[in-house]
Symmetry: none
Subunit: 594 residues, 2 copies
Amino acid sequence: MNRTIGLLGGGQLGQMLCEAANPLGIKVVILDAENSPAKQVNAKAEHIAGSFVDSEKIRELARQVDVLTVEIEHVDTHVLEVIAEMGIEVTKKDGSKYYKKVEVQPSWRTIRTIQDKFIQKDHLLQHGIQVAYSTPATENTIAELQRIGKDLGYPFMLKARKDAYDGRGNFPVMSPPDIKKALEVLNGRELYAEKWAHFKMELAVMVVKTEDAQTTDSSSTISYPTVETIHEDSVCKIVYLPPRTIPKKIQQQAQALARKAVGSLWGKGVFGVELFLLDDGKLVVNEIAPRPHNSGHYTIEACPTMSQYKSQILSILGIMPPFPNNTIPAVVPSAIMLNILGGASKTSHDEVIRQSIAIPSAALHMYGKESKPGRKIGHITVVAPTLHEAETLISPLITLIGNIRAERKGIKAPSSKSHPETSPHPLIAVTMGSDSDLPVLNPGLALLESLSIPYHVTITSAHRMPARMTAFASSAVENGFKVIIAAAGGAAHLPGMIAASTSLPVIGVPVKGSTLDGMDSLLSIVQMPRGVPVATVAINNSINAALLAARILGTTDEVIRLKLEKFAKDSEEEVTGKARKLEDLGFEKYLEKR
Amino acid sequence: MNRTIGLLGGGQLGQMLCEAANPLGIKVVILDAENSPAKQVNAKAEHIAGSFVDSEKIRELARQVDVLTVEIEHVDTHVLEVIAEMGIEVTKKDGSKYYKKVEVQPSWRTIRTIQDKFIQKDHLLQHGIQVAYSTPATENTIAELQRIGKDLGYPFMLKARKDAYDGRGNFPVMSPPDIKKALEVLNGRELYAEKWAHFKMELAVMVVKTEDAQTTDSSSTISYPTVETIHEDSVCKIVYLPPRTIPKKIQQQAQALARKAVGSLWGKGVFGVELFLLDDGKLVVNEIAPRPHNSGHYTIEACPTMSQYKSQILSILGIMPPFPNNTIPAVVPSAIMLNILGGASKTSHDEVIRQSIAIPSAALHMYGKESKPGRKIGHITVVAPTLHEAETLISPLITLIGNIRAERKGIKAPSSKSHPETSPHPLIAVTMGSDSDLPVLNPGLALLESLSIPYHVTITSAHRMPARMTAFASSAVENGFKVIIAAAGGAAHLPGMIAASTSLPVIGVPVKGSTLDGMDSLLSIVQMPRGVPVATVAINNSINAALLAARILGTTDEVIRLKLEKFAKDSEEEVTGKARKLEDLGFEKYLEKR
């Protein structure tokens, strides 16, 4: 806790790192220009003025601190290697000298691997992690790029291997005539080419690595949730938590792949992993950043006790706490992050600031940077109980940001288009032993619809598909369900067998069969042995199963509870109306008119 | 947005204010000693070194800023009055002079009223706000205090009218012999006395005021949730969101009273309102702080887009957005804040820091202050889906804080078991139709004990005490219960009747009577009509009722869910052991040894 962190780079990532370090009482010494964003919020240390690529300044920083880390990967890794492995010469007061080794986190080796995007991709491939197919350009000539075009097909993406970020250093080669222009733009840089990724969505996962060695041990990487990222002009524009339209399973696969990728690297810290979800449903890693990342800004509000910045600090100091399932949960169901890029004039973004401050559930982060066209100068995060609500709130800001871009680029402002519909994640799983049970469940499902509670309905026969049933039950928690409703008839084993493979509350609906009036189903469901409870409702009464599920969700969801109170009131009024009618008409007329 | 704030005082409240102002791009100029906590996180301005009670320094600050505000109320309100009403002399470059008026928010009038605690109480009384009965001491003599003792009765609280905070300036006069000591301690200060408040709980509400004038218009005050505060040695120790045992209705009354009290004051800003919930159920205001408050620290994590600090900034600048129902909601269901006070040595709190960093859902805030015995040097906020989980997480830290206090005061450390302040609020209500049902419930209650889930057990016969039963059920939500377990036998109406008067999930346990083998109870409980569900478990199976209740709580309480998974694993191992024994011994020997 008393160790001092040396930070190479003092931009907005360093600034938010300092905002996390200050309350922890952890000292950060920054190497960057005077008045850089990070220095503006940190008067606790004597910072170093200079460039984070200046090896002499890096040595000066190293002398003062215990751990070195980066907010940008384009640093001199050779001096970092020397400092970490051989140490740095320090002069004592008596004039004698000694060598002090300073930890570099994540390892200089990781930074060096990631710095060169072709080496990065090659590294990942060698560790069994799918990436877009890439090939180096052996020389910067038209002939070589034509050879690559034949190899990869058109379009392909030509990229500078080093010092490329936010799209700078990328050139999409749509067809052979583009090659000349591409060589002009990327003149003099080492290049490689990537096969064009046909993806349906870009995803990102922040991963924390807590061990120095390369690792496949699942306990040494921890992941934040999977988010969807939208890029514009090759720069991150919007981040959605959760992604708008993909199943939870793919989100989990993305987390697993990101953790595997980060596990293949050296050293501790937080990493941003960008992925593509391809048209064929496969996931590939696009690239990795060995530091906090734009796609993780949302964690400041959505994970208020463990933002990506706090986890960078704790992990590089070796004091990151463990998390259940190696996952850092968001405390809010949804969040949307929107970047603010400088516009044509220094005041282009004033209206964005004004409007974002007027949204109670929006957090504005201005970085204290001078506004320049296209420069990242701030961001906004909106949090909400549903992604739909978050989208509604942020929509006017997205329009404003679109207008700023249009003005900056001298193009027509986009029409304020509607966003693709979001489907909320189901909280209730409804299953049955046979499709013949569906008519019994129908009124309950209709009630869930009318209460706007998202559910997932399926069939899992205990006797005819036992393996599928068990898999369904045992993955229900991780699939985000909160309650399971199971209906079955006869020797009705389904609700009890599901309850045996999950820790969620299971509601059993006895279905009345052709014999025994449903008593067989009722007793099969309700008479569970000690240890495995099933919440049994009346025979065929799926309405009550749905209401019970809603009551369970309502213990923590105020909105659902209020809907239930309204439902009870409506029922009361309905029966009160009948009572009045009966009193008015008398029982004989009432029976006639019924 | 481009206006500069001048801040009188740069302690931890000013520090957290700056942490909120920085990302908004709002400049704050601080008047306080060099290296004060607020200055440590703000290198954006040339601050002023000096005391916030020095009128010349206040004038120097006023010249540089557009709005003045305070993080402490013990300031010179006369100079603030002059600056706000008449303006401050400013010399232009050409040597000519003009008077510049600077807004003071909240108004100097409010600060002056609040500064003198007796005048504050008198002000509130005049505006129809209940406070503890108070009387001024006309002179600091034994005779006068004896007169007051006769008037108020013993014990009474003798208080300095001004410059009193964190209990400094308070003396409890338990009986007449204390008077002499009280006069010695409070020597030379203007005094008043308060009638002793017999309260069952201390509450607090942060309120934002958005209009300059005194107001009863409900749209110009916005409140945060009501919290419970625990004081120790007259200093805030713990804050609970929500309060542990009081109905939601009283929480709402506290918010309304706090808003009314703040509405009676002048100017804009955020206010901390401390209240007593008296033994007779009435609420009275204890005192008001015209600034962010210790009881509102939890808002940093619980209201991550609108902490009390952000709302102070936005309100004093006149750009606070409106909130639905004039309430700022917490995005997490529960939070607990624990103060860290300096211990006997500078390192006394090191272990608190270490352990709080090891809690993933805890946020540590160290203020960058030198540790001195009893000084507020930091705080921790834990957030969780339930107050029970938050209490479980923070409990070891409360023990450590207790040990630090014991060492500081040279007293015996509290035994770690006796935490009266953390007797957790029952989440499950267990009730039965008759005490003859208790033996059936016994194993279930024992299981709740073993899972450390707090419950409340009672009797509410449907047929012999119907009114009490209905009252019990209909107040269950506001009493903080999440699940109800009801056991009954024969014509077992209790579970269904309770379900008819609450929106909580109700679990029914059919109790086997002397006839019909429990089938009467089972069918009476399970065959509920549509609209009113009862989660029925097997006859006499209170274990499963308890497990089902735990599963319901476990849908949002990770700790409980993990305990349930362990329970299932233990059961599996137990039965696995029996299987092995049976296979080893053969069935005949197994039956012999059984």
